[in-house]
């Protein structure tokens, strides 16, 4: 696919920044959920 630099740059900024933040947001939600489902206990440390 032929693409001019302007289109490429804008696509990378929008999709790249958006994709990175969206992925990390989903990860943060999953990890928050896992924290609630599997709470910390001192027993486990032992």
């Amino acid at each position: 696919m032929k693409m001019d630099n302007w289109t490429f740059g804008i696509t990378m900024i929008v999709v790249g920044m958006g994709g990175t933040i969206l992925t990390l947001w989903i990860l943060s939600l999953i990890m928050s959920l896992l924290k609630k489902l599997l709470p910390y206990s001192k027993e486990e440390e032992k």
Binding site: L27, L29, Y40
Partner: protein, 379 residues
Amino acid sequence: MSEAIVNGLYGLVAGFLNMHWSNPIMIVVGLVLLYLGIKKDIEPVLLVPIGFGCILVNIPLAGLMEKDGFLRIIYEAGIITELFPLLIFVGIGAMTDFGPLLENPKIFLLGAAGQFGIFLTLALALALGFTKLQAVSIGIIGACDGPTAIYVTSQYAPELLGAVSVAAYCYMSLVPIIQPPIMRALTTKEEKMINMGTVKKSVSKTTKLLFPLVVTILGGLIAPKGLPLLGTIMLGNFMKECGAVSRLTKASENEIANIVTLLLGISIGATMDGKVFLTSQTLIILILGFIAICLDTACGVLFGKLLKVVTGGKVNPLIGAAGISAYPMSARVVQKEGQKYDKKNFLLMHAMGANTGGQVGSVMAAAVMLSILKGMGII
């Protein structure tokens, strides 16, 4: 007989006679890198082999980077194949404790904001006339993550590898100088003094164990082109957290990481041949790399301000500056800045969380970027 003597003498001075004007300059550059590594303690484990490699490759007629030259063999075995940065990642994963990040998962978002400089610098590089793949490789300096920068550049713009790697590692170690003025300029005194309290231990061992698996599977599905990066760092972390393979974990963070760092450094130095390296392009790349790190810091702090508003003032925006991959320097910078305004404010563990978020964020940003390129049919 006299001709044989002259020829013999010529053999002894041929090295001097074949010196290109750029070679002595690059030998000095190599010496400066050695000085920075040894005397100034700037990433010595990398700058020493890079500096020495730079000196070696700028001595004419030795042919170290020609076919069958020993530097060429190392370069082709580990850089062209992308093996060295990936092996380094296993070690980084084995050394990193994602605990502080998992204590407060919303800090992950700071790790994303700290990567915005990558994409903004990419656009800037395009505007300055670099090709698309060169712009991607220059932008990745903003990941503040040497192995990621090497991985991407060696694949898509190998001609820029020397400049990009040197910029990535030098700026990474200059974080304590680059970040504070930006942090000070973008935050008010009240914001700097926000006390986030102490980090309570609230993450179970099982959650820590599941984290690398979740990142690998989810990240891999979203950005498959970046799976080698994600997979290796998470493999290292999984080995550390599972505790069942301590020999492998120790080998990854010590022997393997050390050997690969040596080979990686010397092969990067080997790409710094004066005839290729001393161009205006290199200077522009160094400037763009600096801009990338400044933009990362600014975006991180500004996103920290947004989080402060969203959380009702519970987040100190300074920790946003730690959302880059320079671990743990960036977190220490935040702690130091915070304590300038309130001696009893301990931001270190919160900043460590943002910093490890930045490590995952930088790899994820690179993975996302590669997958977009693949999606657009550019790679």
